[in-house]
């Protein structure tokens, strides 16, 4: 048994996992229309590379990755592109985003696939590009492009690969089912990952002890591979990346850093399966295992769901009873978000569709005042003081929120879960976080504006000063002139005029330069006149025109002579 560490806090909500693992992973009929969002991952949304009306095959790329932090999107089945437009997507705020709608032709016909059987002799670079092109992003929930994670750079040597099979959220069994049925392929995927990371010395699969079947399924395939299956007591939220790193290694991820900074890469176990399919079979990510569960659905089980399958399609096939249902949740009951439309499609990060009955998850009670009982602080896995954060969130005291480490909150919801006053604590933190981010952006913007403004002020002042100085000099000169011109005789006026001309006169160097410029421009003119005359002669223009041109030439020549003489005079 490998040593594990115990995180502070945590809660033990009813697991409710048994309902959905009684049957093997099933499949659903292909829906008539699939809606594939272009942004299913963290980073830039992919760019559509098909047009309306295009015929596509299953697995055909329909959108290219936009930049490095992005992945490709593929057609989940064969059919026709019937719309490219904004549709409601799987997002906590119910927003719309650009999607490609594919009307299925019912044939589900694959494009030609080409895999690499011998990945050990393939360079990591090639493997990474396969992973990006296969559209693989973290399937645990956040959807971070996997290839980016697997390429931490030379300055971050990786010694530990953690495969997250914790699945600590109640109800969800997608990873559990996947491991039970496809352990061999998962291990193959982990070996590919290990190869791309330069074979780190520790490879750990972290799994909670409430999945004995899955642990058993992994065992025969991990023997003599150097891959360790590490099980630890079930507690929510052990599957949080930071928590899992601590549980398995005893190391804390320093605030504001990524796991690669301490030599760790953490990947969801579903992602490793997708990587195996992509590399060895050449299959892009067009489907995933999703748990369909909750008492408002008659059938509870896991499905291999095509990406883009509308939620309504899944619900219908599992005999969903809208009357019984308190809310439809994508994800688990702790961190999942409620859906506002049944047309929202399943995406690469959708691990669960939960349709609980009102008895299972009752409607929210109204919040009572916080009595600072501290149960939240006991439950917090990050050792924060949620009750103080609430207090300062309501007061919008951003300084205090930051000194209480608001940004280290992982929004796991353990505090709200235990709160006897039913306060939606996490919602307060989310809103405060975005307020602070906004305030900071505005601060930067206003600092830039201030800098620009100050620079402009300075420039204007400078210009004013210069002008003022010139004016003063002129005034002074005029004053001097007046003084000398005090006796108002004719001779004086002449003298004053002479003085003015003298003042206007240029210095010898300036005069020289001016004359040189005159000579060179005169030379230019002569050349121009000469060439015009030449072309005219060559093209046999009328005689009078040639005469005019030759006159112009001689005029120019005379002027040049004059300028040259003046320059010579000046030089002497």
């Amino acid at each position: 048994m490998r040593q594990t560490w115990v995180t502070p806090g945590g809660v033990h909500p009813p697991e409710n996992k048994h309902q959905s693992v009684t049957q093997p992973i099933g499949s659903l009929p292909i829906p008539e229309k699939l809606v594939v969002p272009l942004g299913q991952h963290i980073g830039a949304p992919a760019i559509a590379c098909v047009k309306l009306g295009d015929k596509v095959l299953k697995g055909q790329k329909i959108a290219d990755p936009a930049g490095t932090v992005s992945v490709a999107i593929h057609a989940p089945t064969s059919g026709t592109v019937s719309a490219i437009e904004a549709r409601p997507i799987a997002h906590s705020s119910g927003i719309e985003a650009l999607c490609i709608e594919i009307t299925s032709d019912g044939k589900d016909q694959w494009i030609a696939l080409q895999g690499i059987a011998d990945f050990e002799h393939t360079t990591p670079k090639t493997l990474l590009s396969i992973i990006t092109d296969a559209g693989i992003a973290g399937m645990g929930g956040a959807g971070f492009p996997t290839a980016v994670k697997l390429n931490p750079g030379f300055h971050r040597p990786i010694d530990t690969l953690i495969v997250n099979a914790t699945e600590c959220e109640p109800y969800i069994t997608a990873d559990d089912a996947l491991i039970r049925e496809r352990a061999e392929e998962i291990i193959e995927g982990i070996r590919i990952l290990s190869h791309t990371l330069g074979n780190p010395s520790n490879i750990l699969i972290g799994i909670e002890d409430n999945k004995p079947e899955a642990i058993q399924a992994l065992e025969p395939h991990t023997q003599d591979t150097g891959i360790n299956v590490v099980s630890f007591p079930t507690k929510y939220p052990s599957g949080g990346e930071k928590q899992l790193i601590y549980i398995l290694t005893g190391k804390e991820l320093p605030s504001g850093q990524i796991p690669a900074d301490i030599g760790i890469v953490c990947v969801n176990i579903g992602t490793t399966y997708a990587i195996k399919r992509a590399v060895v079979e050449g299959e892009p990510l067009v489907s995933r295992v999703t748990t369909m569960t909750g008492e408002a659905c008659e059938i509870n089980r896991n499905y291999d769901v095509l990406i883009g399958t509308p939620v309504s399609h899944m619900l219908e096939h599992n005999k969903f009873d809208a009357e019984k249902c308190s809310r439809v949740i994508m994800g688990g009951p702790m961190m999942g978000f409620s859906l506002m439309s049944k047309d929202i499609p399943i995406v690469k990060t959708s691990n669960c569709l939960l349709a609980p009955s009102v008895e299972e998850i009752p409607h929210n009670e109204p919040a009572q005042p916080c009595i600072r009982c501290g149960m939240c602080a006991e439950a917090c896995p990050a050792s924060l003081l949620p009750q103080q954060l609430l207090w300062y969130s309501q007061a919008k005291d951003y300084d205090r929120l930051q000194s209480h480490n608001l940004f280290d909150c992982i929004e796991c919801g353990a505090c709200s879960y235990v709160c006897p006053s039913n306060i939606p604590l996490v919602q307060h933190y989310r809103s405060s976080k975005s307020d602070i981010k906004k305030a900071e952006e505005e601060k930067i913007k206003s600092a830039q504006a201030r800098e620009r403004f100050e620079f402009r002020q300075q420039r204007i002042e400078q210009a004013d000063k210069e002008r003022e100085a010139k004016r003063a000099a002129r005034r002074e000169a005029a004053l001097q002139a007046k003084k000398t011109a005090a006796p108002n005789s004719a001779a004086d006026i002449v003298a004053a005029a002479q003085a003015r001309t003298e003042a206007k006169q240029l210095s010898p160097e300036q005069e020289q330069a001016k004359l040189e410029r005159a000579v060179s421009s005169a030379e230019m003119r002569v050349q121009k006149a000469q060439s015009k005359l030449d072309t005219a002669v060559a093209s046999e223009e009328p005689e009078d025109k040639i005469k005019i041109l030759s006159a112009a030439l001689s005029g120019a020549q005379q002027k040049l002579e004059k300028a040259k003489t003046r320059l010579a005079e000046q030089s002497n």
Partner: protein
């Protein structure tokens, strides 16, 4: 409506504020039984009278503040305040003492500050201190414990007790007397051993004071019930009791006539256990972090001992708790826990650099 926007988490634990409060009330039962057994029906009458007053005055204020009655009365916080005040008051004290104290606790100390969750001071203790300062005679007349009643006398029965409370008549001489802490404080010129031999409050006791040791054991039992139900953490009560014990060990001076008393006497007399488990654990007016609670509890234990030993009052839980309430926000600033991923504890007063 299955498709609607609800914020996560969707699952919710079973505890509710009302249940927490109810459990606190239930946990006082062992102490209340001990009080009633040793000092008669007075405490029970206090508790019931205080509860009625509290609910009525809370309802009136809620009505004035235009708040929904059922929702706010349903949190049972007024009842908890009333029960704790009722337990702290001397048995058979006049009815108006109970009513004034309760009204002050609920209306002034709680509702005027914004109601549950917003009171900076422990409401029950505010009420208690107001009474102690305003009506010292009524507040210091205690009942003789059952075991020490003179031959032929007994505690008044329930009806007689009610009559005494509502007629505001003083109970018969002989059934009233000093508390052990009071008696100990006001006996001068005797060594601790001599007091323990001469004063029947001590000579007939098991280890601390006749009747009082049972009352304290009762509240200790209630405290353990609440601890095992995780209503609060051990930090506050343990820090308070440990500091009180430590102080009485340091200043024990082997029992001379100047000695402030033994460790057992301090731990199991007066309101020590009730204070440790029912008063300083009031979450609203105490500190928030576990480290903060250690400091807060220790401060209360320290103040209790100082006032008992060298102050004017025989017991001091109420004063000590109110003084510590003042300090709680300050203590909170410097006792933040270390957050995951940070090497140091931070101070709440840190400013983000501008």
């Amino acid at each position: 409506m299955a498709f609607k926007q609800v914020t996560s988490p969707h699952a919710h634990g079973a505890k509710s504020t009302a249940n927490v409060m109810k459990l606190v009330v239930l946990a006082t039962i062992p102490g209340l039984i001990a009080l009633t057994w040793h000092f008669g029906w007075g405490s029970l009458i206090n508790v019931v009278l205080a509860c009625l007053t509290a609910v009525i005055s809370e309802a009136l204020v809620l009505k004035i503040r235009k708040r929904p009655l059922a929702f706010y009365l349903g949190d049972y916080s007024a009842v908890v305040t009333a029960v704790l005040l009722g337990l702290a008051l001397p048995p058979l004290c006049p009815w108006w003492v109970v009513v004034i104290g309760t009204v002050f606790s609920v209306v002034i100390a709680k509702q005027l500050f914004g109601g549950l969750g917003y009171n900076p001071f422990n409401p029950a203790m505010v009420g208690y201190v107001v009474l102690l300062i305003s009506f010292p005679v009524q507040m210091t007349t205690w009942i003789t414990p059952l075991a020490l009643l003179p031959e032929g006398l007994s505690h008044p029965d329930f009806i007689e007790s009610l009559r005494l409370v509502f007629s505001s008549l003083a109970p018969v001489d002989g059934i009233t007397g000093a508390t052990p802490l009071d008696s100990f404080k006001h006996t001068s010129g005797l060594t601790v051993d001599q007091i323990y031999q001469q004063d029947s409050l001590f000579s007939q006791a098991m280890f601390a004071g006749v009747g009082w040791e049972w009352v304290n054991l009762g509240f200790l039992a209630g405290g353990i019930i609440m601890l095992s139900n995780r209503l609060f953490t051990w930090h506050g009560p343990v820090a308070m009791l440990a500091t009180l014990a430590l102080m009485s060990l340091i200043f024990w001076d082997s029992g001379s006539s100047q000695s402030p008393g033994s460790m057992m006497m301090h731990l199991f007399n007066g309101a020590s256990m009730m204070g440790a488990f029912f008063i300083l654990t009031d979450p609203v007016s105490s500190t928030v972090s576990n480290r903060g609670r250690l400091v807060y509890g220790a401060l209360i234990g320290f103040l209790v001992y100082i006032i008992r030993a060298w102050g004017n009052y025989p017991d001091a839980i109420a004063f000590a708790v109110l003084l510590a309430n003042f300090c709680a926000p300050f203590i909170d600033n410097y006792t933040l826990p270390r957050t995951y991923g940070h090497t140091d504890r931070r101070k709440a007063t840190e400013r983000s650099e501008d």
